[in-house]
Amino acid sequence: MKNFSIWKIISFTLLAFFILFVVYPLALILYQSVIDPETSGFTLSYFSKFMERKYYWSTLINSFSVTICATLVATAIGLPMAYVLRSVKIPGSKYLNILIVISYLSPPFIGAYAWIQLLGRNGFLTKTINSTFGLNFEGIYGFAGIVLVFSLQSFPLIYMYVAGALKNLDNSLNEAAESLGYTPLQRVRMIIIPLVMPSLLAGALLVFMRVFSDFGTPMLIGEGFRTFPVLIYTQFMGEVSTDDHFAAALCVIVILITLFFFFLQRYISKKYAYSMTALKPMSPVTATGSRKLFSYAFVYGITLIAMLPQMTVIFTSFLETAGGSVYTGAFSLMNYENTIFAKDNHSILNTYLFGLAAISIVVVFGTLISYLTARKPSFLTNILDTLTMFPYIIPGSVLGIALLSSFNSGWLVLSGTAIIMIISLSIRRMPYTIRSSTAIISQISPSMEEAAVSLGSTEFQSFRKVIVPMMLPGVLAGAIMSWITLISELSSSIILYTSNTSTLTVAIYAEVIRSNFGNAAAYSTILTLTSIISLLIFFKVTDNQDISV
């Protein structure tokens, strides 16, 4: 019975961690949202304040409109992109695939600031267009800008989900429909789209959640167009008239909304779930004529547009600036001198340290939790499973606010420390790691462990000697992807950081706000290069396995 208690101790430790850093902070937010600080009595005044003032509730409508538009546009690009790349032979498709992933991996707000450089008031493209056509285009800000940035940022996610589903779609289904007299377009509509629908919905939900809770992009490119996360941020962190209790109420509202969409997606996916394994997947065929022209133009065009922000950022990072946003027109490395070699600048080192520390926590906890929930199902591990999924639906800024409110004072003060940054990063990434680890464990037959036990290993020894080594390749691949997402995290870091714990994304954001575009570009380039190198390592260690996010 000794081994049993080891697993029990591990379960309780993990549970304590999540209760302290997820349940308690969220409960506190919920509590604050309905408590009047003066009287300490119950009140719904914060919620009614939100409902009554158009200034507040219009942000919710704004958020919904950009989110829905961006999700639809992202689907409209990502779905055909996946289908075309799966069904038509396109030279360099392997590299296109990598480029699409890269364009997804950089944080959205970098896209926003890059597009300002291109299509903003003084943007390069704006000037070109205006001088060529004699127009007076004011640049894209507000609604259009936000939707543009989010759509280009999000379509890769839809693309990856649908591409994954298409890979599991047996071509004989397609051929069966063809033999029954259906045209290619009819087949896409009646066979392919319905079969990839669950994956499409799962991808669309992720896009929806990301867009709905992102605050960096509307902050930079939104100008007067304020979205809900911007309102939360300004209410909690703004320079004037902050109100923690009102911010808490806003957090509760956003959690309710994401919760609703989470369950809606779950319900729909369950209804239309198919288990598919392709014996003979669709294989790309050589296209001719207009079909060829159209698919080449579409795939290359979209990839080029998606890569534009990255290219802009890298290009401008080598431009000399005369302070702030004015470029002198000469090339130089001054932006790198001002960033990498700046005094007391820890943000680059912090990014790597925090990222690595968070990854270690995520990998160890994620492996243990997925093992516990998959192999030792009990009331305790069920609770653990549910708790660890919470951060999946909770926007980063809300988690940041909740953590900061909880550990700002009292018996455990963590605000301003590296610890709280690392904890927030690891909690945010945990659900993804657990899900991928659970998938890996379910691939391992329970008889593997039983074999080890029958040969004289204790349960824990068999976990260590058999399960861990068998999981390792998959877990490491997942860890690299987690690493890439963690180093580009902004929404909770921006709330939790102090000058000593600033990270790359925080530094980029701060430089953009100060219009130090040169420095921002240098930081962004460092971040992008780190992501690209990590991604190449991922492809190397996994032998070009598909990316799952």
Binding site: A451, L455, G456, S457
Partner: protein, 364 residues
């Protein structure tokens, strides 16, 4: 130094569902013992109780005289071969086989020696440094077997070890398993749903159904003198005929309408006019084209299979029976030929009408 296994009145419950209720059996030292039954009969459950993957909710399991109910699996020293082999994919063949030795106090040299010896026994020495992905199903099977017996377990347990192999390899491997078991002389419990496999490898077989042992005996006993109708139909193929006992002084006959056969091995407890179920295997019929006695039947179809020819016949009441006869030179009885069927009275089995027990004296 082989051990005996005594299963005494054990019960297995999953939540509230009782799968095995008070099952007892005794396995002799060095015996190749098979648990045979359809899927869901509880045979794997019982096997997993012996090794300790399943808890025991009642009764005891003993190795020789020691109750093992509360000994954790990893201390039971039993080797197991799994249905999917469970070869560790991240270790070479040699490392897989050495796995169970590494956490015992053996020196490196001893481990190498033991591994080499056992690889010799299962005839895969040449695969020593291969990784599992480079092995065929039969080779993986041999690795699994080597890994299980290299630790010198008291008991070897095998859970449907051949079910993932193709038909030809299955025959080859079951001979190899039998051969290796005899060589090592280890008490072995083997689980299968394949009756031919069970007949081929076992010293004794326990036929299980719904968590209950229907009959325990040697392959010959199980096949020739089944204890009840279930065993008779599960092992091999049996045609079930309805008959009536006719007692005529010292002579006991079973009558099928106008045709009766005299039986010399019917229990004396039977009564006159008792209804019985008679199980007749396809090879226990004789087909007579010009006989005056026998059960009248019509040949409906025939399949020539080389050594034997299978005939499908229909009685006057519509019942269909299958008959197997050695093929005769140049001749298959044509369709729609009226014939008479006679019975091989030494071989047929007679059961009480509901089939629950045998009325043959030699049947145990």
């Amino acid at each position: 130094m082989s051990v005996s296994i005594t299963v005494d009145n054990v019960t297995k419950r999953f939540d509230k569902l009782t799968v095995i209720d008070g099952l007892s059996l005794k396995i002799n030292p060095g015996e190749f013992f098979t648990l045979l039954g359809p899927s869901g009969c509880g045979k794997t459950t019982l096997l997993r109780m012996i090794i300790g993957f399943n808890s025991i909710e009642g009764g005891t399991i003993k190795i020789d005289d020691n109750v093992i109910n509360n000994i954790p699996t990893h201390l039971r020293n039993m080797g197991m071969v799994f249905q999917n082999y469970a070869i560790f994919p991240h270790m070479s063949v040699a490392d897989n086989v050495a796995f169970g030795l590494k956490n015992r106090n053996f020196s490196k040299d001893e481990i190498t020696k033991a591994v080499d010896e056992i690889l010799e026994v299962v005839k895969i020495t040449h695969l020593k440094d291969r990784m599992p992905t480079q092995l065929s199903g039969g080779q993986q099977q041999r690795v699994a077997l080597a890994r299980a017996i290299v630790i010198h377990p008291q008991v070897l347990l095998m859970d449907e070890p051949l079910s993932n192999l193709d038909a030809k390899l299955r025959v080859e491997m079951r001979n190899a398993i039998k051969h290796i078991q005899q060589k090592v002389g280890i008490t072995t419990v083997y689980v299968t749903h394949d009756q031919e496999e069970a007949l081929a490898v076992s010293d004794r077989i326990a036929v299980m159904h719904d968590g209950v042992i229907q009959q325990t005996g040697s392959p010959i006993e199980i096949y020739q003198r089944p204890a009840n109708l279930f065993v008779s139909t599960f092992i091999g193929l049996s045609n079930i005929l309805k008959g009536t006992i006719k007692k005529n002084g010292e002579v006991t006959e079973v009558s099928f309408g106008d045709y009766s056969v005299t039986m010399n091995n019917i229990k004396t407890t039977v009564s006159n006019n008792q209804k019985v179920s008679v199980s007749v295997r396809p090879e226990e019929f004789f087909i007579e084209e010009n006989s005056t006695t026998g059960i009248p039947a019509l040949v409906k179809n025939s399949v020539f299979l080389g050594v034997n020819t299978h005939y499908f016949l229909e009685f006057e009441d519509g019942q269909e029976v299958e008959v197997v006869r050695p093929s005769e030179t140049g001749k298959v009885i044509p369709k729609e030929t009226p014939v008479k069927l006679l019975l091989d009275t030494k071989k047929i089995n007679v059961f009480v009408e509901d089939g629950s027990s045998s009325l043959i004296e030699e049947s145990r």
